[in-house]
Every structure is written in C-alpha cells, then in structure tokens.
C-alpha cells in the first residue's frame, strides 16, 4: 500500500521547547495506522503538527505526494487531512447541529453537508436527539461523539484520531472501533492514537511507538504486540 500522508524528519514544539525530534512516519492509503506512546511522548503534538495547528520547525509532511507542511490548516482540511482533536475542542456555545454544519465548511464538503449530516446522525443517534443543545452542556462522552461527527462532516481523506474513545463508555468505545473499519471501507485512511492498545493494534495494519518525541519502534500490529517495551507499557503485562 502506498502512503497517503507521510512525515519525514518532522520537528515541532512549542516556542523554544522542542517536542518532536525528526519523526518519520507514514499513513498507508486505505489503512489504519496507530501511534502509541506514553503520557507526554508527543502524540498530540504530532497530530497538531500534521493538521497545521502547530508549525513544523523542520522536516516535511507530504500528502498525496505533495508537500503540505507550509500550508495553513484550512487548506489541509480542504485537501482532506482532518483532525479529531484530543480534548474535543467543540464550539461550546453553538448547538450540536451548528457544530456539525461548521464541520463541512470546506468547499469540498459544503455542498454535501446535508447528506453527510444525516449519515452522522445515523452513526450517533444521541447527537440527533440533542441537535439544538449547546455543545458545551453535553456530557463528556457526548462531546467526544460530536468531535468525531464533526470530523466526518469535513469528508476527510485522512482522519487523524487523537484518542477518539477518551471518555467513552465501553458500548460507545466498542462502536467506535466498529465504525473505524467501516470508514476505511469507504475509502478513508486513518491515523489513530489510542490508549486502548489491544483493540487499536487489532485493527491497525501498522503502528509506531513514540518515545520522547522520537519513533522508538515500529511494525505491524502483531509485531508490536510482541515487542517487550510495548507489552510492558501498554498492555499492562
């Protein structure tokens, strides 16, 4: 499989503080790629840099073969690189429906907004029930659903999922992991950071382990499962 999104020697951080040190990583087209790492390893930083919320200090990001590291975030979304951020980042005073609608602000998705909206409501009936509730008053899990739904509204080609099941009850988490392969079937490629390593590595074709802002190990799901560092840190063995 070819890479749809690729980071080469990617460096990033906050102000003078460097967090990512030359990260190499690629997201397979039509596949699921996982990023693992303990607290503070730099996963969120990586995702934000890929999405253009943080400027890359050095290195390259390629999407479909063309460099995107200098493009502003909205152009990346327009092309199909969409982030579902950690900590949800919903628009608290806007209604659920407005949150979703604004998700398809990019030109590609705008015309199909209504259609995508009903798909998202089908996926998350709870959001349908709460269409007009202010997003800020949703429960933690509901906000997570909203963030996911909003990401889908942008009609992504690559979906960057930063801890998508954080705060979701087991039923919902399970559903998410059922949805993800469906999305791939629809033609999406996915990069996912998730603490539920078992399930993640079960569905991911390939994974990277970040440590202190560097890729420490990489390999296929089963390979990683067997790596001692991984099983110790993430599988709780």
């Amino acid at each position: 499989m070819s890479a749809i999104l690729q980071a080469r020697e990617l460096v990033s951080g906050y102000g003078d503080v460097r967090i990512l040190h030359a990260v190499d990583l690629s997201v397979a087209e039509g596949g699921i790629t996982a990023v693992l790492g303990s607290n503070g390893a730099g996963k969120t930083t990586l995702f934000r840099t890929l999405a253009g919320l943080l400027a890359a200090g050095a290195g390259h990001i390629e999407f479909c073969g063309s460099p995107i590291e200098t493009l502003p975030s909205h152009v990346r979304v327009e092309r199909g690189v969409v982030l579902v951020p950690e900590g949800r980042l919903v628009f608290p005073d806007m209604s659920v429906e407005e949150n979703l609608r604004i998700g398809s602000v990019n030109a590609r998705a705008r015309s199909k907004c209504s259609k995508t909206l009903s798909t998202v409501y089908d996926l998350f009936p709870r959001l349908d029930e709460r269409r007009s509730q202010a997003a800020g008053t949703l429960s933690g899990g509901e906000q997570q659903m909203l963030a996911l739904g909003r990401g889908l509204m942008a009609l992504p080609k690559v979906l960057l999922l930063d801890e998508p099941t954080l705060g979701l009850a087991p039923t919902m988490a399970k559903q998410i992991f059922e949805i993800i392969p469906n999305l791939v079937e629809l033609g999406l490629s996915i990069l996912i950071a998730e603490q539920d390593v078992h399930r993640t590595l079960q569905c991911a074709q390939f994974g990277y382990v970040l440590e202190n802002g560097k890729v420490a190990v990489s390999g296929t799901g089963p390979e990683l499962m067997q790596t001692p560092a991984v099983s110790e840190a993430f599988l709780g063995h």
């Binding site: 999405a51 979304v77 628009f91 604004i102």
Partner: protein, 295 residues
C-alpha cells in the same frame, strides 16, 4: 399620552434605531468575532463622514451615490489595519484577556491618531453641508429627505449583511471563530480570511454610517466617541457577536431614547438610557439575546 402614538415619534425612533443598529453592526463584526476592543470604531464613522463631506463639497456628488466608494475607503482602512497590526496580534496572543487588553491599547492609539490627524488636516471646527434637506409630509409625518434616505439605506445594508451572514456559512464561521480559534482551524475555517472579511465589512459599514450621519448632523474630528459608546452599549445589550440581537438592540435603543424622553422628561434621557442598559445586564448578564451555557 397621545404623543406616544404619534407617527412622528415612531419615524424618529426608527431613524435613530437604524443608525444605532448600523454602527453597532460594524463593531459587532470586529469585537464580536475577534475580541478586539475596537474603541476606534466611532472614528471610522468619522472618517466616513468626512469622506462624504469632502466628496459633496468638492465635487457636488451626493454621498448616497458615493456610498460604495466611501465604504471601500473605510473597508480599506480596516484591511490595512488588520494586515499591519492585528493579524500578528491575533496569531501571537495566547489568552483572550491579553488580546482584549492589547487591542484596547492599539485601538486607543489608532483612535487618537485618527482624530488628531484629521484635526490637523481639517481643523477641529465643526462642518456641515446641505443635502436632501427638503421636508416631505407623508401621512402626517414630517420627514427630511436625508433622514428618509438614512433609514432606507440603513435598513438595506442591515438586511443585506444579515442575509449574507445567514445564508452563507460565513456567518457560522464567524460565530465559530469567536468561540475557539483552535477549533475553528481544526474544522478548516480560513481564519485569516474570516478575520480580514470581518474587518472589511465592519469598517465598511462604519463608513456608510458616517456618510449617512454627515447629511443630517455637524461633523468634526472628535465626533466618533459617542458613537463608539453607543455601539458598545448596543452590542453588549444584544449579546456579543449576535448580529441579529445587536440589530434588535440598536433599534430598541433608538426607541428607548425617543420614548423615554416623550414619557418622562428630556432631563432623564441619559439616566434612563444607561440605567436600562445597566439594569438589563444585571438581570441578564449575557445581554438580551446572548447565549449562556447553563450549569
């Protein structure tokens, strides 16, 4: 008491209200969307007024015809200010409080510069010109031509902007941007485009308001401040960033002003105006039409 039902009062209230709404609309687009405390807003109104004055006195062209030019002029000032000063502020400043404080200072500076440059160029003496000042009588209401024109154009512009914001996703993008810049970027809003658009639209509308005002009132380099205040009162009353709420609040303010005087005495005009403003906020801390997050 029959004074209350006088159509004359209604006309005045509408004219005044429409003007307030128009001026506030421009401020709402800048303060409401970017939290830039634009206390130079009234000075843009002033620039629009001077542009209309000179246009008319030098060329005899009606400000009504010149409106697009004037709007483009003040919008241009907005775009220039955004590009030179505010883009960086908006990108670089972390907290809203810091942004608000710094923008207050910036706009304070800009306001001082604009006023004094105009005073230096054209002196502080008040100026006025005569245009469309014939009085028409319609259904017992006496209306000066320029006030009718003011009302009509204000309503047109207000309606135009509201329809634009409601019918395009731009309006929602503006609201989204108010609430979270980061999230706005995440969903793919072209943040700088929305911002520059808000500046252009907000300042352009201010210019139009100034041109309209210049037809009926004296103008001077320091005329802006009361309009700034009125605009702030209106957008806060209407709920910050709530465009429609601001328009309703503007009209409301016009009515309060006219009818408060009619019902009580002119002496209490300002007390009532600010009293109602303060009172409303104490009862509804988020303004009349502002949204709150419960709980």
């Amino acid at each position: 008491m029959d004074i209350l039902f006088s159509p004359q009062l209604l006309f005045s209230a509408l004219v005044l209200g429409a003007l307030y709404a128009l001026i506030a609309l421009g401020l709402n687009l800048v303060y409401g969307t970017m939290r830039l405390l634009n206390i130079a807003h009234g000075d843009l109104v002033m620039i629009g007024a001077y542009a209309a004055f000179w246009l008319f006195t030098l060329t005899g062209i009606s400000p009504l015809i010149g409106l697009p030019v004037i709007a483009v002029l003040t919008a241009g000032v907005g775009v220039a200010l955004y590009s030179v000063l505010f883009r960086g502020q908006l990108e670089g400043t972390q907290s809203v409080a810091q942004l608000e404080a710094n923008s207050l200072l910036l706009f304070f500076g800009i306001s001082v510069v604009l006023q004094n440059v105009m005073a230096l160029a054209f002196t502080a003496s008040p100026r006025a010109y005569r245009h469309l000042d014939d009085v028409y009588h319609v259904a017992g209401v006496a209306m000066t031509g320029n006030r009718v024109a003011t009302l009509l154009i204000a309503v047109l512009v207000l309606a135009g902007v509201v329809i634009f914001l409601k019918s395009t996703i731009y309006g929602l993008a503006v609201t989204a941007l108010i609430q979270s810049r980061d999230a706005a970027k995440v969903v793919g809003i072209n943040v700088s485009q929305v911002q520059v658009g808000s500046f252009a639209l907000g300042f352009g509308v201010a210019g139009i308001a100034g041109a309209l005002i210049s037809m009926a009132e004296q103008i001077s380099p320091f005329m802006g401040f009361p309009f700034t205040i009125a605009a702030f009162v209106v957008i806060i009353l209407g709920g910050l960033g709530n465009i429609a709420g601001g328009i309703i609040a503007g009209v409301l303010l016009g009515f309060i002003e006219i009818y408060a005087v009619a019902l009580t005495s002119a002496t209490y005009r300002s007390i009532l105006l600010y009293g109602i403003f303060v009172g409303v906020l104490l009862i509804r801390p988020q303004g009349l039409f502002g949204k709150t997050r419960g709980g």
